[in-house]
Amino acid sequence: MTDAATRSRDDAARAAPSGIQTPDVVGGTQPAPAPRLAALQAPQDGCTAGARRAAMQRLVAAGLPKPRDEYWRYTDPRTLNADTPAPVAIADEEPQMFDALDRLRLVFVDGVFDAAASDPLDADGVRIETLAAADAQPGHWIAGSYGALEAAGQTPVVRPFAALNTAVAVNGLAIHVTAEVARPIHIIHRRRDEAADIVLHHVLKLDPGGELTLIETGMAGARENTVIEADLADGARLHHIAAIRAADTRIGARHIFGRVGANAAFKSFTLSLNGTMMRHESIIDIAGDDSVAHVAGAVLGDGAQGPFHHDDTVFVTHGAERCESRQVFKKVLKNGAVGVFQGKILVKPGAQKTDGYQISQALLLDDDSQFLAKPELEIYADDVRCSHGSTTGAIDPVALYYLRSRGVPKDRAIVMLVLSFLAEALAEVEDDDLRAEIGDRLELWLNRHAIADGRREATA
């Protein structure tokens, strides 16, 4: 094992209870793993050990992604594959979001839960434990949940970084929702180590009728690998809002796996501001009748701050009747920023009355930026309604003229039109206060970056 791997593993293990030992290398038998895989270590003593071994086998069998892989055609996995991330200077912290909100604050520093900086882990209707604490309890419910949705989500397309995450993650949360939870759970990321290579794995289990709002904000590490598994029983509701910012040039792979029971609602919205290399996968299995699953994203990328590449990859499977799914992704790109969208709706045989909707759009603020989209529908039921659309365009000159003719200065008019472009994605945030605050943050960014002449701005 390399020194770097040892160091980062030791750092991460600080928060783990003594019951979990830094384990030996777990490798597959065939084929021979790449050096990075050989260096990985998985906790072996906890109740999730079996799931971790299975994940490691999946990872070794799949191997890390190669640029030639069809699923990585538009996104170069090299920086995600590297043994260690390049250090990233820690930018000044921007004002925290959602400060006015009554919520349960859970602080992670370099991907490690900081109990002292967090609110006590108790709230009505929910039991929250660290992954390590849950792992240390024989017979804990996560033994059956940890890695389960991730494993199921490996077919028909492999997701090696998610398997890697399941195999080695020692940090994260186990959240068991038993009723309607009034206060949102807010995960706040902070950075301290410029080279932190973060692996986080959150497992959410929502019992019938359970309802939770989960928010993630803040600055993650130099590199981030986050997996969220969310299992929604019948009638459960999950609202997930991630406002991932990066004035820093971080890289990362995020996966959210959702299984949605009957009459349940899964809604996930991600706001991404900058970031050098982000791959964000949403894998949603709609398993119960009459349920709803929405995944949405607003992405703002300015290549003048450093290379920008953001990939949203979505796979929604309809396996039940009368369900509705929506994928709404909007990207605003300038100064050579690259946006990618790979979105699929799979309607299984028998999933009648499915209502599937998918839209991916890019607003290019200059000629240098690009948007690559691969929308896919695969339908095996005959009584369904599915639509998909993808567009790439610039600011509408007639709309711009209309606003300016009313006295709105050009820069302000551009910001208004960009917000107009993003509105459909933002509308996926149900809560008025949360939506307003995200809108304000968008506007702040736009006032700084969305000036008409990208090149002039970039060289200024």
């Binding site: 709309a399 300016r404 003719s405 009313r406 006295g407 302000r412 208004m416 917000l419 107009s420 509308a427």
Partner: protein
Amino acid sequence: MLEVTNLQVKLEDEDKQILKGLTLTVPAGEVHAIMGPNGSGKSTLSYVLSGRDGYEVTGGEATLDGESLLEMEPEERAAAGLFLAFQYPVEIPGVGNMTFLRTAVNAQRKARGESELSSGDFLRLVRERAKALDIDADMLKRPVNVGFSGGEKKRNEILQMAMLEPRMCIMDETDSGLDVDAMRLVADGVNALRSPERAFLVITHYQRLLDHIRPDVVHIMADGRIVRTGGPDLALEVERNGYAGILAEGA
């Protein structure tokens, strides 16, 4: 107030001359109508005066209160007191009508060195003026022009005019797509704004709008020029004889 002198305009991307030496004076307090057949350049005149891209001024001048308009950005023209009611008002999803109005009103006030309106003052004003145009609270809340009927869009244009209180109002075929009732509402809105300090230039194909908004002067435009100017009766003559008759007479 508005002085257009020998204005010559071509399309930027095409070698096509549209305005061929247009001269027009609209004094404060007056309502002037411009009528003319399709393709005579009426809409182009309104776009060039308000600063839309895509046109190249090859000669002539246009001033508002002695200040040259043609050098100004569209927002500067608006702050100087020029307003164009669009023939096809633009839909802007995701931007609330109220937010848009308030942004526009305050941007103009700021550009003129005036203090911005408080939320309370703005709300009072917008409610009062919307009511006169039969615009309900729902229309104010909805995104700008999205899902509005043709009549609602035109009334929304007049509401913007009423809120921005421009000194020179250009109306580009505001009557197109309006039924009789909507036309009356729009005309009442315009008439309420008539004042000795304000002037109107009403562009229309048809005489019927001018039954409701009585012009002081009527101009007939053809092939990029004003070819005849007269009193309100000229509009009636157009109605009776058509443009062909008038143009033949003028030739």
